[in-house]
């Protein structure tokens, strides 16, 4: 586990429409010393991202109001937000979606049901921690 003090400033935005999963991932990140911002639909996610400029975004693919691709494209095509790493969460069996997501500029993909350690490891890699 990561030293809490070192990450006290790292803020991660998590966008997911499933409240239980959002709570789970939030708890997991907080335990590992991150500050977590949450949004439950694509539009909210986009505006929080623009307003708060988090250090990293964990973005679900299927979201109400605006899907994950669109959010990703809006941010990645914008000079001001391009540098924020985006990890997309996908459901398994969406290999085609993965390809599309790549074109939309997401930095990494993680299948949702994969072990939480994998997501954590990737986040730490992007934020150059550990």
């Amino acid at each position: 586990m990561v030293d809490k003090k070192e990450n006290s400033k790292k803020r991660i935005l998590v966008v997911d429409d499933e409240p239980d999963f959002l709570m789970a991932i939030k708890a997991m990140l907080e335990v590992n010393g991150f500050e977590v911002l949450a949004a439950t639909d694509g539009q909210e996610g986009l505006s929080v991202a623009r307003l708060e400029k988090p250090d990293l975004i964990v973005l679900d693919l299927m979201l109400p109001k605006m899907d994950g691709y669109k959010v990703c494209r809006f941010l990645k095509f914008d000079e001001k937000y391009r540098m924020i790493p985006i990890i997309m969460l996908t459901a398994r069996g969406q290999e085609d979606d993965k390809q599309l997501g790549k074109e939309m500029g997401a930095d990494f993909y993680i299948v949702k049901s994969e072990r939480p350690e994998i997501l954590l490891k990737k986040i730490n890699e992007f934020l150059k921690i550990g």
């Binding site: 708890a27 049901s113 072990r115 939480p116």
Partner: protein
């Protein structure tokens, strides 16, 4: 002319016409066209004023005119004849032909609408399919007031027979079409279901997994030993359920034919090393020594790397599972040659994953690739598989035109083998072209193939050395490479002096513009030979998917045709 001779002559004249009708009936011209042609020929051959073909509506028990000549459209659309009524109704009900030369003298039938059209003589035969009447073919009034004879009846029966086949074929085809539509709909529902399941199951499962992991890490307060054990069991069962869903999804996608391989050229040794590194933890835990003997110098394979990783992961995972502590797992590969049916042979890369575990009994070796077939094994819950891993491997290899099998000696160990075809440069190109066509088809875009051919290449071969020719072709290739997005999309046909290139997302117009630019550039070039610099002439041909062909063979044939014409 004696009567018999005259008959034979008449019959001989009939044969080609009947043959033509048969051919039409068996072709795909559609029912309307077939029946129209039969009616037209009936009028001509039997020399009658009117002919009509009626079909039986089984439910309503009535006949309707499907096709006719000499009858007004109003009558055609309105006429309904009940089964058993009138001449047609009688023929349909009795399933017997009828010949009447003067209907006014026949008490059974009375013309219903006197004056509207006059029927004197008539001939009527049933249309039958497997002894069941499906309609009636009628002719009226032989011209010049001649009488119908037995030969007319025979001829009309033959024509009726053709019409029956045409109707039967059309109905079968219709049934097939609607059955096919139903199947497509079912297939669509199934894939939608699978996609939804993947999403709907994935998130709750992930939530369970995250919370279990949090509690295990005591993020929600300290836990006791018993609690830890129970949670660990929960965790490994979540893991199992996840794997099961993932495997089910993979398999159902492959089975639905929805699985497009993303093939690239791959050095297998590197791929295997990557997978092995993922297992390091498990190897350490069981003190297993894993050795990757796959040579880096083996030919590259054209595969979907992610899918081959899946194969390795499954096979190595199994090997670890069934190996005792302190054992060994060895990966190896070699080139083998296999004879293929056409009397030729093909090279394959044969990869092996060998363990020194307890082995599989001979009688069980065939079962292991069957879905959900798991051998009786004393495995801890956590290591229970999904029964789908090897079935998935087999399907992935089938898509790659490879095979998988296992050899085993009880208590000595098991070796899994799988093969992947090694393509020659030109085969590799054709395979790539086939992948590109699939991609273009699913994205409804176009794709072009261009061939640059050196004019008078055979003459060149006799004058220059092998190395000089190769040098020229390499230079031509490098010019062509500047025009395509991916350098892999080009191949040299050494024996023909041609450069082939795939142009993704390019239509015919684009292909020709590009081809012209390249030839212009090439015709400026001076090529080095031992006799000094020389200029060359080039011919170019292009073919575009879907306009010029729907498959890689059709496209290649299309460009070759253009080039052959140029050489004439």
């Amino acid at each position: 002319m004696p009567k018999t001779k005259k008959n034979i002559k008449a019959k001989n004249e009939l044969l080609p016409i009947l043959y033509k009708i048969t051919r039409e009936v068996n072709s795909n011209l559609g029912l309307k066209h077939c029946l129209k042609s039969i009616i037209e020929n009936t009028v001509k051959l039997l020399n009658v004023e009117r002919a009509s073909l009626m079909l039986l509506d089984k439910q309503k028990k009535e006949l309707r005119i499907e096709c006719a000549t000499g009858i007004s459209q109003a009558v055609i659309s309105k006429a309904r004849v009940k089964l058993g009524e009138g001449v047609s109704g009688w023929v349909a009900k009795s399933a017997k032909p009828l010949l009447i030369n003067d209907i006014s003298k026949d008490k059974r039938f009375r013309p219903r609408e006197k004056g509207k059209y006059y029927n004197q003589s008539l001939l009527s035969v049933p249309l039958k399919v497997r002894n069941e009447v499906i309609g009636v073919l009628n002719v009226n009034n032989k011209k010049r007031r001649l009488a119908f004879v037995k030969a007319d009846l025979e001829l009309l029966s033959a024509l009726a027979n053709e019409a029956s086949i045409a109707v039967y074929n059309a109905r079968l085809y219709q049934q097939l079409l609607s059955a096919n539509e139903r199947l497509k709909e079912l297939d669509r529902l199934k894939s939608d279901f699978v996609a939804n399941v993947s999403h709907e199951l994935g998130t709750p499962l992930a939530t369970c997994r995250y919370f279990t992991s949090l509690i295990l890490k005591e993020a929600a307060g300290p836990i006791g030993q018993q609690q830890r054990e129970y949670l660990q069991m929960m965790d490994s069962n979540i893991e199992r359920l996840t794997r099961l869903i993932n495997n089910l999804l993979s398999l159902s996608r492959i089975e639905a034919g929805k699985f497009d391989l993303r093939r690239t050229q791959v050095i297998l040794s590197n791929l295997a090393a990557n997978v092995l590194s993922n297992f390091e933890g498990l190897f350490k835990e069981k003190q297993i020594i894993a050795e990757n003997r796959i040579s880096k110098d083996l030919p590259q394979v054209f595969v979907d790397a992610e899918r081959v990783v899946e194969i390795f992961t499954n096979l190595i995972g199994n090997a670890v599972k069934f190996s005792p502590k302190n054992s060994k797992i060895t990966l190896d590969a070699s080139v083998i040659t296999k004879n293929i049916p056409q009397g030729t042979s093909r090279n394959y890369l044969r990869v092996s994953v060998a363990d020194t575990g307890k082995g599989i009994a001979q009688e069980d070796l065939g079962k292991i690739f069957v879905k959900f077939e798991q051998l009786e094994q004393d495995l801890p819950q956590k290591e229970k598989g999904t029964g789908l891993g090897l079935a998935i491997c087999r399907e992935i290899l089938r898509l790659h035109k490879g095979e998988i099998w296992a050899e085993s000696v009880l208590d000595k160990g098991t070796t899994f083998f799988f093969t992947l075809p090694i393509y020659t440069e030109e085969e590799f190109f054709t395979e790539r072209l086939s992948d590109e066509i699939k991609r273009a088809r699913s994205s409804q875009s176009s794709l072009s193939l261009i061939v640059l051919s050196i004019v008078d290449f055979y003459n060149l071969i006799t004058r220059l050395s092998h190395d000089e020719i190769l040098g020229i072709l390499f230079e031509v290739e490098s010019v062509a490479k500047k025009t395509v997005r991916r350098p892999n999309d080009i191949v040299i046909r050494f024996k023909k002096g041609e450069i082939l290139a795939i142009l993704a997302d390019t239509n015919a117009q684009g292909a020709y513009a590009l081809a012209k630019r390249v030839t212009d550039m090439l015709e400026e070039c001076e090529f080095k030979t031992s006799g000094g610099l020389m200029k060359l002439d080039f011919e170019v041909a292009a073919a575009t998917y879907p306009d010029d062909g729907a498959t890689e063979t059709e496209l290649l044939r299309a460009v070759e045709k253009v080039l052959a014409k140029g050489k004439e």
